[in-house]
Symmetry: C2
Amino acid sequence: MTEEPLETEDEAWGVNERLLADVRAAVEAGDGATLSALLDDRHAADIAHLLEQIDARERRDLLTAWPGNLDGEILSELTESLREEVIEQLNPAELAEAVRDLDSDDVVDLVEYLDEEQQSAVLQALDASDRVVIEQALTYPEESAGRHMQSELVRAPEHWTVGETIDYLRSDVVLPDQFYHIILVDPRLKAVGYVSLGRVLSHPRATPLKDLTEDSFRTFHVEQDVEEVAQAINHYHMITAPVVDSDDRVVGVITIDDAMMFLDEEHEEDLLRLAGVGEGSLSDSVLETSRQRVPWLTVNLFTAILASLVIAIFEETIAGLVALAVLMPIVASMGGNAGTQSLTVAVRALATRDLTTANVWRVIRREVLVGLINGVIFAVIMGAVGMVWFGAPLLGLVIAVAMVINLVIAGLSGAGIPVLLEKLGFDPALASGTFVTTVTDVVGFFAFLGLASLILL
Amino acid sequence: MTEEPLETEDEAWGVNERLLADVRAAVEAGDGATLSALLDDRHAADIAHLLEQIDARERRDLLTAWPGNLDGEILSELTESLREEVIEQLNPAELAEAVRDLDSDDVVDLVEYLDEEQQSAVLQALDASDRVVIEQALTYPEESAGRHMQSELVRAPEHWTVGETIDYLRSDVVLPDQFYHIILVDPRLKAVGYVSLGRVLSHPRATPLKDLTEDSFRTFHVEQDVEEVAQAINHYHMITAPVVDSDDRVVGVITIDDAMMFLDEEHEEDLLRLAGVGEGSLSDSVLETSRQRVPWLTVNLFTAILASLVIAIFEETIAGLVALAVLMPIVASMGGNAGTQSLTVAVRALATRDLTTANVWRVIRREVLVGLINGVIFAVIMGAVGMVWFGAPLLGLVIAVAMVINLVIAGLSGAGIPVLLEKLGFDPALASGTFVTTVTDVVGFFAFLGLASLILL
């Protein structure tokens, strides 16, 4: 997280206050020439970022005043919801023109959610060979490596030398925009290894490629989850991940820059799911945002009512000693916080595969012990506060014991529930929070009010 | 987040249940030969992962039974707390031997936190030229690009041709293990552009490098925050980020695989900070973990007491109608959840620079409106529940109005507080949560009990 103040000169990449003001003025005036001067030379990622900073009406006017400039690169950089909005304003011919020069993975990314008419217009505009590749990619599952790989790659027969490879690359062949490895294949196109370009460049022409292959080589299957591939790329520091079909023929690659983007999206999802926000971006409308958040709030309402039902059991106890109503949220709140701490550590460790069956019991044991220790610490503090505040030592005792109980339960449920959800096949980031805070609310109120009714009345 | 069940064959990279069991048995038996057979050919990242799965005693025994195998690669892959533990078991000579073949950034990473004796032992073991590089890097600020760059890179005079470059690379020069670009420098070593190896390989020998430079070229200053560099690498899809000193001379590079790691660490920090966990890894001890979590729980205790003080103001009101004690946590809980939703979206958008001064008012306005809409929705539901449950229409009205107030305030504070903290130079991920839930607790209790005392009694 950057700690830059919001006003830095270059606050959002190349998109600063000044540029935004200039662009807005030009959009208002419908001044295409000024827009061209301001935007034509910018990086596609910066233009996409700028489009995300302005509102929907300004975006529409900008695209009208600066026509034909929205190329495929910019479309690829836009967040999904904005991309849909912008694509709706393009006719199929413009869209087809925009995507023509993209790598296959970017084309797939753009067309996969288009309606049928738009999709077939784009596909028809591509060369036949490109079209076949895109159509093939669209047959793989949504989150698979096959769907997200780029088919542009450089293969070489395993028996080639450095010299033959260089001659081939210098010939009239179409090469990917960016590539970092040459993938060696056997006569049946099965991938058998790869060689980094640095090694090719630094060895004499006669050197066989086979002598230069790298240990980091491993392949991924087209049906494999693309996030798994991205995690492996990160774990093994790979730059190029070859993707193979069921016959082990290499049919594409996933490169590290795309893997970085997938992991980034995955982190965002985890963070938002933990907060009960699901999908959603900053440019979604008010109604859309409201709709996204209602489900989790509804779940929370049920769990809050459940906690209230526990309180209702002890209505008479509270009527007998109103101080209990004053103090009872403290125990629940501390439990909720401690539970969220354990939970977040567990969810993160599951995502990074640091938490496995091998150490799950050690981790749960640790969380319970941490809960016990912190429970005792805050029991002493809060017991004293309760005693001093209300001048009732027994009340202090009740809150202290309830605190220990709830923080132990917080550690147990905070670590245990995500593990259990994962074992059952659910996403622990999505559902754990509700369960854990429900447990700590219910246990917190029950322990505190129950002990109070036993000891104080 | 992977949804794989915990028992998958290959659950944690190459480290599955079976391997762990075999390694544990061999460690127990002190059987170095079996350990070598099991581990020698594995990727350093997998061995590090395995070391993280077993406990401290097993780690010590493993290192004793499998001596001399803990090379620098494995050390680099370990999480920081484990790395310290392991390094303590190595004598300076072993340590120096282990780091000899690492890139400069990995050496810096290993030695920066060593005590003076160990650090100087390692530095003395390096070649003089390597030592100078490391010592220079250690003079840059901790989180700077200069501290984290690798000095191994390939420069070429800007007037060279493809042929001259290839001849140079084939000569007796020491090249980095991995490199993806050749950086062009002018006679004063100022970086003026770069060329990808793919372009060098695919052009005739006579082609000047200058004709092959890429648009994506931009440089970063040694003092710049390394996270900013990593974000730029992600934003602009760069593979190599050249780092320059104050005279614009290129002195190192940060590569995308390291950037991916920095962003990953940053995400983890954000996630853990939002949950009030601060630092911390799964292998920390119980006491260490307890210590890390106490500060946030202490803050939470104060805020919970603050909320209790608000309740205490209305003790008489509650004594008059105990149903209020039953229902009051619901309004606070809904506010806390809605506030956390707004807050998480805002914190994430600040981190990705999607939330800027350009759109901050639009975002805050949106969050307030979302709060209003969801407030009305849950006011209707909860008003009805309150009415039916307690048969008191006015009680239903009180809870409904309090709900609307609290969810509007949740949206306002959830979006506004992170922005304010960032403007003041604090990390919004660290501090926002406390402020927001304090606000929603206090407002929730105050609105509900205050309205109740006005309307019901």
